[in-house]
């Protein structure tokens, strides 16, 4: 019984990071009609920038966090300005292809800078496991889940309570009307991109202690973020979060009870099944295209 609970906790831990990535995905899709192939790379960037600040520069953790988020936000703004903004008027396919190019560039820069080496990121709250009523948990897991939930909560408050947040929601719902109301749609899109990159980066630095940090971690995690967003319903933020935790749990159970080697392949089949059976995701109500 204890092991099951441990599995659940571990699944939720990884799932929390997936959820953050999926959040960014969904947001970008809703507000910018952009399927961002490069989103997974923000995950990778966050992990590396965090690694660099905390491990190489030996900066305190919280400061590293701040640097990572700020850097990701900045990078997000730059990318949006240079490569994404010119394509808002073009068919969405072009934007997608462009995001592929961006992903390639980011990944390869990371490859060149870091080499094909796996880096270890130290555990945040120490390696010592804690025993709670028969269950063994690593404090890291609580940290990750806690921080992720905190970030999600902060983000939700941002969307609901701040002016920028409300403006973002307006743009996501109806860009034309939003612009009529004086909201700068372009600026909002830029902010959306920057914020989702920051969230992805946060997910990366949260995830870093759980596994190795490598230059190609962006690709699979990007896909998993996408799977979560789909499972929850693309464009739905609670859906993305739900999907994230769900996928984390499923993966963990796969890994333990079926096979660890092919666990990613199983994630792929999950994707296919979800698309086949309920393409709109679990939480989205069917919306018809207006003719």
């Amino acid at each position: 019984m204890e092991t099951v609970i441990q599995q659940i906790i571990f699944g939720l831990t990884v799932g929390a990071t997936y959820a953050l990535v999926a959040l960014g995905f969904s947001m970008q899709f809703r507000a910018m009609n952009l399927l961002n192939f490069a989103h997974g790379e923000s995950f990778m960037m966050g992990a590396f920038i965090g690694l660099f600040s905390h491990v190489f520069l030996k900066l305190p953790l919280l400061l590293s966090w701040g640097i990572t988020m700020a850097a990701c936000g900045l990078i997000g703004i730059i990318i949006e300005r240079i490569a994404i903004r010119p394509l808002y008027k073009a068919p969405p396919l072009n934007l997608f292809i462009c995001s592929i190019g961006i992903a390639m560039i980011l990944r390869q820069i990371s490859n060149i800078l870091t080499g094909a080496v796996s880096y270890k990121f130290p555990a945040t709250l120490g390696e010592a496991p804690v025993h709670l009523g028969g269950i063994t948990i690593v404090p890291e897991q609580l940290w990750v889940i806690g921080m992720a939930l905190l970030l999600m909560f902060a983000f939700e408050q941002f969307l609901k309570k701040t002016r920028t947040g409300k403006a973002m929601r307006a743009v996501a719902q109806d860009p034309y009307t939003a612009s009529l109301m004086g909201i700068s749609v372009l600026r909002m899109k830029s902010i959306v991109y920057a914020v989702s990159t920051m969230l992805g980066g946060a997910a990366g630095i949260l995830y870093a202690p759980l596994a190795y940090v490598t230059f190609d971690m962006g690709l699979w995690n990007g896909i998993k973020g996408f799977i979560c967003a789909i499972v929850g319903g693309i464009g739905s933020i609670p859906g993305a979060i739900l999907g994230g935790f769900l996928l984390g749990l499923i993966e963990q159970f796969n890994s333990s009870y079926i096979t660890s080697l092919y666990k990613d392949v199983i994630s792929f089949f999950i994707l296919i099944i979800v698309i086949a059976v309920r393409p709109k995701g679990l939480l989205i109500r069917s919306k018809r295209e207006k003719v």
């Binding site: 010119p86 394509l87 592929i100 390639m104 896909i223 990613d264 792929f268 296919i272 099944i273 698309i275």
Partner: protein
Amino acid sequence: MMIPRFQWKSLAVLVFCLILALLPWTINPFRVRVFILGGIYAIATTGLTLFMGFTGQISIGQAAFFGIGAYTSAILSKVGFPFVFSFFASGLVAAACGLIIGFPCLRARTFYLAMATLAFGLSMTIIFKNWTSLTGGVSGTGGIPAAGIGPFLFDGFISYYYLVWIIAAIVLFFAYRLTRSYLGMGLRAIGENEVAAESLGVKSYLFRLISFLICSFLGGIAGSLYAHLDRVIAPENFTSEESIIFLSMAVIGGLKSIYGGLIGAIVFTLIGEQLRSLDRAQVIVVGGLLVFLVIFLPRGLVSFPEKMEKLVSKLRGETSVQKIP
């Protein structure tokens, strides 16, 4: 008076064919390999162009189909099946996998297939690396027999060169015929406006599925040709980076033209040598090229002459010229 365009085009095609035919005799035999690779890539990329150009969807899994074709051909040939059988079997097996993915994903929105093909590609890499009994694992499969058709054995670069390019020519011919057929028209209609196409009776899902099957089939046979080139293959040849390279070739060449795949493949092969010296930076160049082209030349290199024309007439202050095909 404007010289009708198609004459230039036919001339270009003729010159191109001549160059192709005479090439192996004019260069160092070892360099011929690069051009064989170009032909193989052209086949796989043309499949992508046919699919993506028509339906407006994206496949990031062409390297996986390529790999499936390569392994299928390798395994069958080593067991003793004749090349022609292995060749077609590669295409069919790849197409069958395409069916598994396409069946659920092509019903839904555009990007589902894109992500599914990516996930498929990554999964296949895992399978290639780990299913050691079948694929030889990380070190791959070697000792693949040379391709032979009847009494002819294509075990030298020059003979293989002609085999590959003849097949490529046949593929391009089929592609050309396809675009002129009602299937081609239906695909274009779907790509333009699916709602309107459906109300005219075009079963968009079916057409898209068929086009995807063609794409994966071509990927598969290209893989077969690849396997019999060096006669040794390994999982690292069929990664998702390769899929993205195929995608880039198709996009850079131009998705809306059947020659797009060919042009993209050739451009890549030619500059591939140059790129190789950049080592790891080459992917950055490709990525940058992709971004640049999508923004400034979204129709790919094929549209370059057209764009130049428009630019020139704009500079001259002429109004836009209506093209009558």
